[in-house]
Structures are given as structure tokens and as C-alpha cells.
């Protein structure tokens, strides 16, 4: 489970949802793993403003990972205009959609993908750091503990279990 997911997860108990103590869940005995992946700048730019930044900083601290800046960076701070070269990310987007079939193949024409409306951007160090943290670091094992009720949700093989036992439903 990539660390970004933790920014959306809270206690499954309905009464806890109302308490600010239930979010974020606190990792305990966490076993982390880093799996490198392609940088996805357009996703980072979209998701950044939706993050609960203070809570993310808290989780990062609890996991003993390098501190995040106090103030959430602006989405604009993730990319800087490149020298015209296409980034890997754009190349990846083009691979997303198969536009040809054997039957109807035309010789390739240079064409900008519709999704790449933004000008080509090169990721800044901030983007690289956030990518490493949110999308390359994952929780393999441990527990996620609610700060309100104390219930611990187990994480095994990267899969967290939020099913509530009989006495809590």
C-alpha cells in the first residue's frame, strides 16, 4: 500500500469519524518498502492540493522519514519549464492509449497527446521528493492505529484490513 493512501484513510468506526483524533491513523511496527516507479507529474500536481498536509507531515515524522516542509508547496512548484525535451512522464502518457491497430496503421505523425495540454515540465526536487514519499514508499506490514478509539488495523503483505470485529460494528 503506497503511502499516499494513508492520507485518505481514517478509522472505520462510525463514531470515530467525527473526532479529529481518528485522522490520520498512526503506523505502528511499520515495515516499509521502496519500489521505484515512473514519475507522474500530472498526478502529483492534481493530488497535492487535496492532501491533508499537516497530517501527512505527522505520519512522515512517526515513520522516521525525512521531514516535509512546514507549508504545503504550490502545485506550480512541482514542475519547471523544460528546454523543450519531452519528459519521461509525457512519453508514458502516450503509451497509455493504443491508437493504432494492425489493420489501420498509419505512418506515425508527430502529434501532441490531448492530455498533455500543460507545457512540458521538468520535475523539481520537491516533485521528486514527494514522488519518492507518496508513490514509491509503501507499507508492507504493521498496524494502523486510531488515535481516538485505539483500534489497530493490521497490515499484512501490503494489504490493510479494515473489517471491524463483531463487538465494534
Amino acid at each position: 500500500m503506497k503511502l499516499l493512501t494513508l492520507n485518505f484513510l481514517t478509522c472505520a468506526l462510525k463514531p470515530c469519524k467525527a473526532s479529529p483524533l481518528s485522522f490520520p491513523l498512526h503506523p505502528r511496527d511499520a515495515e516499509l518498502e521502496i519500489v521505484e516507479s515512473e514519475l507522474n507529474l500530472s498526478f502529483l500536481r492534481n493530488i497535492l492540493p487535496r492532501l491533508a498536509w499537516e497530517e501527512l507531515r505527522g505520519v512522515v515524522r512517526e515513520l522516521g522519514l525525512p521531514d516535509l516542509p512546514e507549508i504545503m508547496p504550490e502545485a506550480e512548484a512541482l514542475g519547471k519549464a523544460s528546454s523543450g525535451k519531452k519528459t519521461n512522464e509525457n512519453a508514458a502518457n502516450e503509451n497509455t492509449i493504443t491508437t493504432t491497430t494492425d489493420e489501420d496503421e498509419l505512418s506515425p505523425k508527430p502529434e501532441v497527446q490531448p492530455e498533455a495540454e500543460e507545457p512540458d515540465l521538468e520535475p523539481t526536487q520537491t516533485a521528486l521528493d514527494l514522488h519518492r514519499l507518496l508513490l514509491e514508499t509503501s507499507l508492507r506490514a504493521g498496524s494502523l492505529v486510531c488515535g481516538n478509539c485505539g483500534h489497530a488495523y493490521k497490515v499484512k503483505e501490503g494489504v490493510a484490513n479494515f473489517l471491524l470485529p463483531g463487538h465494534l460494528v
Binding site: 500500500m1 503506497k2 499516499l4 493512501t5 485518505f8 484513510l9 481514517t10 478509522c11 472505520a12 468506526l13 462510525k14 469519524k17 485522522f23 519500489v35 516507479s37 515512473e38 507522474n40 500530472s42 498526478f43 500536481r45 492534481n46 493530488i47 487535496r50 491533508a52 502518457n93 497509455t96 492509449i97 493504443t98 491508437t99 493504432t100 491497430t101 489493420e103 489501420d104 496503421e105 498509419l106 505512418s107 506515425p108 502529434e111 501532441v112 497527446q113 490531448p114 492530455e115 508513490l135 509503501s138 488495523y153 499484512k156 503483505e157 501490503g158 494489504v159 490493510a160 484490513n161 479494515f162 473489517l163 471491524l164 470485529p165 463483531g166 463487538h167 465494534l168 460494528v169
Partner: protein, 472 residues
């Protein structure tokens, strides 16, 4: 704006227009349907440019290609006249280009000699470049529409220059037969991709499936570029079955393996075990939504009855104590209780309202018995606008793909959010799930009803939409 010919496939007809519209929406392109019939694979649309046409068709699963129209008419004579009138200014541009010229006969066929004669009848176009079957620079096609039945000759003809092929190739790429990890309830690749497309899955977006099973929907969304996560009440489906996968694969079969198979693991956030009625996802009020899309095929509970977390009866103190003492033991199974399918659909809508960003989409499947007497009721919510309703007909039942758009707060009328009382029953699964009951009764009462023949008419089946979802 120029007109373009979309060569559609003649399957899942009621989804085709919704899909093309969604492909235009996601690209921010305005599309106008000039000519469309449920019974024809030839659709004419008005689009701003070739580039727009290319971007729209690239996502389409239910079409083959899009062409610039060079001529059209009910006979070859009329087609030639039309071609000369409307496209002669374009001919010189392609005079030297390596080209391909082919014939596409719908519900008809031509001998090789006839095909050659037809192609030769267009010699006035002055295409003098080399003919090339593979990767030509320009591709021309004559489309013959023979109409609904075998007739003596084509009823209508088009000459088109190919702008781009569709994204239909993905149907083959994601074919379940070749996927490492599937289950009996996996939706076929074509429909899963279609669902992701209509929900506007695209690069930069975050999508979620609350009933992910073996991950077919999230995979389809990732294909279109979205970052995805999912959950399921059955942890075994996410963690996998253990043992070795197909030949050439080692390790266990799980959802992650499917993402790896298609090189999409960087877009998979992960899966977690949870129940939608007790979701661990934050239900934002002040913070606003964070999901761009939710797509799902909610469990109908045909085999076991639909279940959610909880106990059938309220637990007494001793029982509660037992659960408290035992829940951390390996092998502990949380109790589940029957639940009503209509209540679950309502829960999905409420969950979507709490988690979607403005203009985010929910696309969910809903089964119904084909019962002529009962008014079809489609669940609604004041914060969700119905975008499209597409129907897949089976013999005695059908299922609908319902797509909603999350309204912005300013669009929701004051007072619209006051919901009626909801007293969802505790009872037997059969009582709670009308569809499941019908299923087990074998749809006996509808056996005379002839289906499949009555599939003409408008694409969007909006007739059954009612403000009241739950009938009392």
C-alpha cells in the same frame, strides 16, 4: 466544424453514444451528433478539427476508426458526384503519398473482382503514389451500408480518409483469457474499459473501486492513465489465492500481479479490505473531495446473499465479550449480516458525494429483472446529476451502467439534502434483494417476454429515472 464518419462496432449499441460523448468530454472537445442510429455502425459527428477527432477516437472501445468524409450518397453515381463536389480541393495533397484504398461492406460482401472495380472507379482522385498495405501515409476507405437485412446492394455509401484508429485494441490487450488473475465475477475487458472511459479515467486522476474483486475496473482505469486504488470485503480476492500463477509466472496470483502484467504497477496505490457501510476512507466535509472517479459493479449477492459487516441480531454482553477476546486471533472471521441491495446503492451514492471532487464521476452497474409491470427506478441524490444510462440486455434480466456527475456545492438547491428516514431492514437476504429473489425464481413470470428483438430506440434510457429510489 467539419463532419467526420465514425465507424462503430455493432455491439453494446446503447453504450456507443455515451462513450463517444465521454471521450469528447474528457478531452474538452465539443461534439455534435449529426447522424446516429442504434441499428447502424455509421455515425456522423461534427468536431472542431482532425486533432480533436484523433483524440476523441483514441479512447473509444466501441468504434474502429474515424474518417474525414470525402463523399456520400445512396448510389455509387451519387457518391462520385458528391466526392467531386466536396473533396476535389484535397486531392492534390495526397497525389504522391503512399496510400491504401480499401472497402468496408457492412452486412454485405463483394468478390475480389468487384472490390477492384470499385477501387478503380475512384481513379479520378489522382492518387499516384505507391499502394502500400502497411503503414501508408494516407488511407482511404469506401463504406457500404447494406442496411438491416440482406439486400441486393448497398443502401448508402461513404468515401472517407482515415484520420485515426480507435482504442479498441485494448479489448484484446486486456482480454480475460490472457489475464493472470481473474474470478468468476470479473467483468469482460470490453465492458470494464468502457466503464472506465465513460467515468472519464485519464492521466493525473485518482480512481477508486469499492468492490474491486480481482481488480478489473481499477486496471481499466489505469490503462487510461489514472492512478487507482480499490477495496473489497473479501481479503482473499486482493491478497490472492496463493500457489503459482499461469505457466511462466512464479509467485502468487493477486491483484498486484495483474498490474504488473500490463506494466501498470506504478499507477496502483494498493488495495485494502473493507466494507462500504463501514468505510475507512475519509468522508470529507470541510476538506472537500479527493477522488476523480468511482467505478464499481456492486455485489448482487446472488450466490450467498448480499452481506455487510455486523450481526443479524444485536449481540448480548457475553457475545460481545467473546468477539473482543477473539478478534485478534488468526482465523477470526468478523460477523456479517444480510443487507438490501437498494440500501447499498444508496450508500454508494452517499459515499460518492462525500469523496468525489466537483465534476468527478460515479459509474456503477445495476442489475434489474426485465419486468414489464415494475417501473424501473434509478437511484438518485441531490448532489449527483445523471450523465448517462446505458443498458445491456440479457434474456431475462438486464444491467445498466449508471453514470453520475458530482455537482458543485453551488448547484445543489438549498434544503435538497434533507433525506427521508431510512429504516433498512434486518431480514433474510431474499426479502432484502428483489433482484436476487427474481433470479432464484428463474424469472418464471417473464418467460414469455421476448427480449433482444426490442432493442431499438434511443441510446439514453432515461425514462425510468425517478426522484424516489426506494419504493414504499
Amino acid at each position: 466544424m467539419p463532419d467526420y464518419l465514425v465507424r462503430m462496432v455493432q455491439v453494446h449499441e446503447s453504450f456507443r453514444k455515451a462513450e463517444l460523448q465521454a471521450s469528447a468530454d474528457v478531452n474538452g472537445v465539443k461534439v455534435e451528433f449529426v447522424k446516429y442510429h442504434e441499428d447502424s455502425p455509421f455515425c456522423i459527428v461534427r468536431l472542431p478539427s482532425d486533432a480533436a477527432a484523433r483524440s476523441v477516437i483514441s479512447r473509444s472501445i466501441l468504434s474502429h476508426s474515424i474518417c474525414e468524409i470525402w463523399g456520400q450518397g445512396p448510389t455509387y453515381d451519387a457518391l462520385h458526384v458528391s466526392t467531386k463536389e466536396s473533396s476535389s480541393s484535397k486531392w492534390p495533397q495526397y497525389a504522391q503519398a503512399p496510400f491504401r484504398f480499401t472497402l468496408d461492406s457492412y452486412r454485405g460482401s463483394r468478390t475480389a473482382e468487384e472490390q477492384t472495380a470499385i477501387v478503380n472507379s475512384f481513379s479520378y482522385l489522382g492518387l499516384s503514389g505507391p499502394a502500400r498495405m502497411k503503414t501508408p501515409e494516407a488511407s482511404f476507405r469506401v463504406f457500404e451500408d447494406y442496411g438491416a437485412v440482406q439486400s441486393d446492394g448497398p443502401r448508402y455509401l461513404y468515401l472517407g480518409r482515415l484520420i485515426a484508429s480507435s482504442g479498441r485494441q485494448a479489448k484484446t490487450t486486456y482480454d480475460l483469457k490472457k489475464r493472470h488473475y481473474i474470478s468468476t465475477t470479473s467483468m469482460d475487458a470490453e465492458l470494464a474499459l468502457l466503464t472506465a472511459n465513460i467515468a472519464l479515467a485519464a492521466p493525473g486522476k485518482l480512481f477508486y473501486d469499492p468492490f474491486m474483486g480481482t481488480g478489473g475496473f481499477p486496471l481499466a482505469c489505469a490503462h487510461f492513465g489514472a492512478v487507482v486504488c480499490g477495496s473489497d470485503i473479501d481479503g482473499r480476492s486482493i491478497r490472492g489465492t496463493g500457489g503459482s500463477a499461469r505457466r511462466g509466472q512464479v509467485g502468487k496470483k493477486d491483484v498486484e500481479l495483474n498490474f504488473k502484467q500490463y506494466g501498470l504497477e506504478s499507477r496502483y496505490l494498493g488495495g485494502f479490505v473493507s466494507d462500504l457501510t463501514n468505510t475507512p476512507l475519509r468522508l470529507s466535509t470541510a476538506r472537500g473531495g479527493y477522488l476523480d472517479g468511482i467505478i464499481c459493479d456492486p455485489p448482487y449477492g446472488i450466490r450467498e446473499g448480499l452481506k455487510v459487516l455486523g450481526s443479524r441480531a444485536t449481540l448480548d454482553d457475553t457475545e460481545r465479550a467473546t468477539h473482543r477476546d477473539r478478534y485478534q486471533e488468526a482465523g477470526y472471521i468478523p460477523p456479517k449480516r444480510p443487507y438490501s441491495f437498494t440500501a447499498l446503492l444508496d450508500d454508494i451514492l452517499a459515499f460518492s458525494v462525500a469523496t468525489l471532487v466537483e465534476n468527478g464521476r460515479l459509474s456503477m452497474w445495476m442489475p434489474t429483472a426485465n419486468d414489464a409491470d415494475v417501473e424501473l427506478v434509478i437511484p438518485t441524490h441531490p448532489c449527483l446529476e445523471i450523465v448517462s444510462v446505458c443498458v445491456q440486455e440479457f434474456n431475462k434480466w438486464s444491467r445498466r451502467l449508471l453514470t453520475y456527475r458530482r455537482r458543485a456545492a453551488a448547484e445543489v438547491p438549498l434544503g435538497a439534502l434533507e433525506t427521508g428516514s431510512r429504516d433498512y431492514e434486518r431480514g433474510r437476504a431474499d426479502d432484502l434483494n428483489a433482484f436476487r429473489k427474481r433470479y432464484f425464481e428463474g424469472f418464471k413470470e417473464f418467460e414469455e417476454v421476448e427480449l433482444g428483438a426490442g432493442r431499438s430506440g434511443e441510446v439514453d434510457d432515461t425514462k425510468g429515472i425517478s426522484g424516489r429510489w426506494r419504493k414504499k
